[in-house]
């Protein structure tokens, strides 16, 4: 890429969830190998728009800076991405930054992804271990299974799949691909498998797996390359078997 003198950014600002949003443009002196976060830090140092107007520093959220926590996920040039791994040299300019649209806005580029964590609770995305006494060691997990399950465990609840999913919106209760994939991960675990029914039952409810629309955007949008559509199809099979078997035994 040819060397550029300045980096042009266009950021959707919003002071408060109830206030209207506005666009602000910023120019940042070019340096090599910057990412979106380092640009936002430059703005923080000198919050002046491209027109020379003084403004407030842009609010965003970040944490690990190595694409494993998901906190800095935002819409970069129209698609959900992590701002830490979004390298300026790879992006088309002006770089348009917007908050994720599927979550309640806090301020500027910061959203509240609490609903994703609530969905993890809904599908029991954990393995119950010792209670009041030691239950002893659990069954072993085969190495082959561990290897593919590891891929699913890379999910950082960042919200890219939710942002890309047409079925996740204000008119639908769909819990989204990530929570469903986590149900598959914990069902694959030999100890987790013992509570399989607790993860499959909520998937039959409104907002569960049947609300998937097969647009398959999730698997394309996932920054961790998690086979989300494979998880969805696999759990389709599992929930079908589970629902039928539960009904026949009623």
């Amino acid at each position: 890429m040819a060397e550029q003198k300045t980096i042009h950014l266009k950021i959707r600002r919003q002071d408060d969830p109830d206030k209207p949003s506005r666009w602000e443009a910023f120019n940042i002196p070019y340096r090599e190998k910057l990412n979106v976060i380092s640009c936002l830090m430059e703005i923080q140092k000198n919050p002046v728009t491209a027109e020379g107007k003084k403004t407030t520093p842009v609010v965003w959220e970040c944490n690990c800076l190595e694409e494993v926590c998901g906190a800095c996920t935002m819409n970069i040039n129209g698609q959900g991405k992590q701002a830490c791994s979004a390298l300026i040299d790879h992006l088309e300019q002006p770089i348009v930054l917007e908050p994720l649209t599927k979550f309640p806005l806090v301020r500027d580029l910061m959203v509240d992804r609490q609903i994703m964590f609530d969905h993890l609770k809904t599908v029991h995305a954990w393995i119950p271990i010792d209670g009041t006494y030691n239950l002893g060691s659990g069954p072993r997990m085969s190495e082959v299974k561990r290897q593919w399950a590891y891929e699913l465990s890379k999910c950082m609840t960042c919200g890219c799949c939710m942002e890309a999913c047409p079925q996740v919106n204000s008119r639908s209760k769909f819990i989204g691909p990530s929570a469903i994939s986590q149900a598959r991960l914990f069902n694959a675990h030999p100890t987790g498998e013992m509570n399989k029914h607790e993860r499959l039952a909520p998937l039959l409810d409104e907002g569960g797996i049947a609300d998937c629309g097969n647009s398959q955007n999730c698997v394309r949008a996932c920054p961790k390359d998690i086979p989300l559509t494979t998880s969805l199809a696999d759990l389709n099979r599992e929930t079908n078997k589970f629902a039928l078997s539960r009904w026949l035994r009623k």
Binding site: A210, N214, E238
Partner: protein, 200 residues
């Protein structure tokens, strides 16, 4: 998402998926093949229509096998369309286009079938009447789009059907099934267009 058990949601979504193939998709295929009789000329076609309409209990069969399944599939499908929010301009993936075309074709097919049934079942149904309708450019475009969209909706629905029922789980099997369905789409569309051209 509530924690109370409402398994009806899952049941109705699965019923919606199943109805698309049995009986609606199978009826569509039968309907397309049967209409090839129009290529034999007005006499053959009108005789087939008369035979079908004279079939004992045809009204009950039409009601149970055709009308009710299509009505349920269409009413619930319209709700499904409403509950989605396309983002194809931001995420320009082929499957995302299929997602929106599936919904557009479904809605168009609903309008098409309503008018089609009105024309063919509740007014004069014979070769001459349909031929007259199809000779108008608007009628021809309306019918051609209806036939192609209905077939697309069925065939693309079969692609999703295999996922919904946990048959094609991985991306590879989904791709192979897609290729197979492309062949089905071409075959059915060929038959559909041959039917229409018989009336021109």
């Amino acid at each position: 998402m509530s924690t109370t058990q409402k398994p009806y949601h899952f049941l109705i979504r699965r019923a919606h998926s199943l109805l698309g193939l049995v009986p609606i998709g199978l009826f569509l295929t039968f309907h397309m093949v049967l209409n090839l009789s129009a290529r034999g000329g007005p006499e053959v076609y009108d005789k087939v229509i008369a035979t079908m309409q004279g079939f004992p209990g045809i009204f009950i069969i039409e009601l149970v096998v055709i009308f009710i399944p299509i009505a349920v599939h269409a009413i619930y499908g319209t709700w499904v369309v409403y509950s989605g929010q396309s983002n194809v301009l931001r995420y320009k993936y082929a499957r995302n286009w299929f997602y929106i075309i599936q919904r557009i074709s479904g809605l168009y097919t609903l309008v098409f079938i309503t008018i089609h049934v009105y024309l063919m079942r509740f007014s004069e149904a014979n070769f001459a009447a349909l031929s007259e309708f199809l000779r108008q450019p608007v009628g021809l475009v309306f019918y051609t789009l209806g036939v192609i969209f209905a077939i697309f909706h069925f065939v693309n629905g079969l692609w999703a059907f295999a996922i919904t029922w946990g048959i094609t789980i991985g991306p590879h099997s989904q791709k192979i099934w897609l290729y197979a369905l492309v062949v089905v789409f071409i075959l059915l569309s060929g038959i559909g267009l041959a039917n229409i051209s018989a009336f021109l």
